[in-house]
Amino acid sequence: MGNDIVIRDAQEKDLAAVIKIDADISIADYGSTVDKKAYWRDIFDYYVLRDKDKRVFLVAEDAGEVAGFIVGEARAWEFGSPLCGWVFAVEVSPGKRTHGVGQLLFKEISERLRLMGVSTIRTMVEIDKKVTLSFYRSQGMRTGRHIELEMQI
């Protein structure tokens, strides 16, 4: 599994690859062509370029190309929770799936967050995203102590 894959911190030069992977997945999995360049630019500013003390943005490089990425951070007292790790994006290029890329990314971010003093990792996934939900479960995640509620207004 993933012998030639290198996991490293994202750099400014990776932004285009991240945008492309996200766009490819949006089209392939959800048929969406929404332009999210500005969103990823902001995320890069916050997670890659600024102080990264409690933030992690990792990319998986396979044969010199970015094959996937994962983003998260350690935060305390959000929703009343003591310090915990939040993983809010993990994406693997459709052509690189089932090679263990996501697993390597998740393992590395878990370790980084653990070193920040985190003992619990959380995420939130849309109920219809079964592939992503299955991935997180395969990594050992289960329904947690927080329940997401919503209403139309």
Binding site: K130, S134, S138, G140
Partner: protein, 149 residues
Amino acid sequence: MKLNKASLFALIAVLELASDPKQQKSTTDIADKYGVSTHHLAKIMRNLVHNGLVQAVRGVGGGYTFSGNAKRTTLLDVVLMFETLESVLDIPNDCITDGRPLVAELQAITNEIDNLTKVVLETITLETACKSAMQRSMASAASARGDRE
């Protein structure tokens, strides 16, 4: 949520076989290990064979082997072979004229619960369940060793 016996026995049998796909096990092997009815399990095994999840091995020492795709098959796939997981409110028809909004609200709540149940079962593959069970087994063994030391 309470799974019916057929779903539960089917999950046990499929996970037991999927945890070691090369090994064949008889209905009696599985029934004895989990304390379930051999007769009931035999009927379930026929259903699982029909659905392609297990294969019958004939002859002396025959039994069943796992023949599905553990990475693609979810717990919900197995459960839906035996039940629908749709909660039904058992309310007599002649009572609901004035109580329709309340009954509709109760039905909406049970639907919400059903949907959550289905999502959980649908996002756990047989492979993931087997892996988690193996980790439990290893943790339990490590704990037992720790107790002895």
